[in-house]
Symmetry: C2
Subunit: 236 residues, 2 copies
């Protein structure tokens, strides 16, 4: 089996493509992010990316062994950006809230990559730091180890699960996104009280609430419940 992908540091020479681009992992990842940002998730294909780079599509296979490897590189770039500039305050509730909303927000900011990243254990430095940070917030606040671990698990999985869920919605092709929105107007908005009394009675509230993410409220409920389980009640 031939190893076709040369690690980024070991490349010796580079020849520009016909259109003059000098390829690199970094350039490819950034071009991919731009492509998604400008033309939507469905615009990311090897062929389009090649065109955007000014290279033959097949040239990308010298840098990434397949599309999945490219997506993971993009995801890793985003995990790095997400953790930048945050420090714990010493208040466990505020810290967990901030971490949860940051994970959720960063995944939402690049839904396509988030979908591939959210259900994998990478064991990479950024992920390790996040695990250590969350466990540290709980243990230093006085949660005993057994409880800290269970809360860590529920908290992180909730953040990742909602992040992936909301990213998935954002990553839908725009036609599907509109179809989902139309369902609320055209289907749920027309149900009557003889067949669906609870939907009919609450429809305007329901349609308004469903426009946003359920995560912020779900996170607050979790923090409420965790506070009630904490052995030594305090204001932090």
């Amino acid at each position: 089996m031939v190893e076709r992908v040369v690690p980024e540091g070991k490349r010796q020479r580079r020849r520009p493509t016909k259109q003059g681009a000098v390829l690199s992992e970094r350039l490819i990842v950034e071009t991919a992010l731009n492509l998604i940002a400008q033309h939507g998730a469905e615009a990311l294909s090897v062929r389009r990316l090649g065109a955007a780079l000014g290279a033959d599509p097949s040239a990308l296979y010298r840098y990434f062994r397949n599309t999945d490897a490219l997506m993971l590189a993009v995801a890793d770039e985003l995990i790095g950006r997400a953790q930048q500039g945050w420090a714990p305050t010493g208040y466990w509730r505020a810290d967990l809230r901030a971490i949860g909303l940051r994970i959720h927000g960063s995944y939402r900011s690049n839904p396509q990559a988030a979908l591939l990243a959210a259900h994998r254990t990478t064991g990479r430095p950024h992920e390790m730091r996040a695990v250590e940070t969350v466990l540290g917030v709980l243990r230093e606040a006085g949660f005993p180890d057994g409880l800290a671990v269970r809360v860590y698990h529920a908290f992180v999985d909730q953040a990742l699960a909602f992040a992936a869920q909301d990213a998935a919605t954002l990553a839908l092709p725009s036609a599907a996104k509109e179809a989902d929105a139309e369902v609320w107007r055209e289907v749920y908005g027309r149900l009557t009280s003889d067949t669906h009394p609870h939907i009919a009675a609450t429809f305007p509230l329901l349609a308004a609430d469903m426009r946003g993410s359920g995560y912020p409220f779900a996170l607050e409920l979790m923090l409420d419940a965790v506070a009630a389980l904490k052995p030594v009640a305090d204001a932090r």
Copy 2:
């Protein structure tokens, strides 16, 4: 614009395909679920589905206007299977717990299909019934409309988000699944207290807890918090 998709109830005659199959929405959805269960989510294409049904691929466009509509029908079938044989007990906590665990379980038992289905709003009968049921449990328990709607949203999104998250893990190719498990032994198991004190201190507890799903505990935390918000406290 021509309306090419005839509603299921209004079809008049049916001619078997060359290979003798008599098509229907139901047969197509069930064949799609079988295809996914047997050969993975990536095996689901209009062309393969046509072949599995013994029909020309383009014949499916008489039943679903595009692939997206077919996916919504598959999603709704999963929701329907989750609700089969369940009836409310009148105890809101027990009812929400049962519904949450059923959704989670149904999606986990069809992980490949769940991945394609869990983040869509179908607007189809099974989904409509589920929405009505959950809202009904909350409103009949005495939650005021505004709170019932917010709790409904957080509850349903959390169930679907965890279901998709856990389904994603189950749907990984077995090589990737093992690689993820190895990360816990080989990476997190080797971290020392000088760089990652909290992980090092709790590792055995952590590794054990992470083997299961975080959903049951997260659900219980949500029910705890919701009980505390309920205007009239009661034992139900």
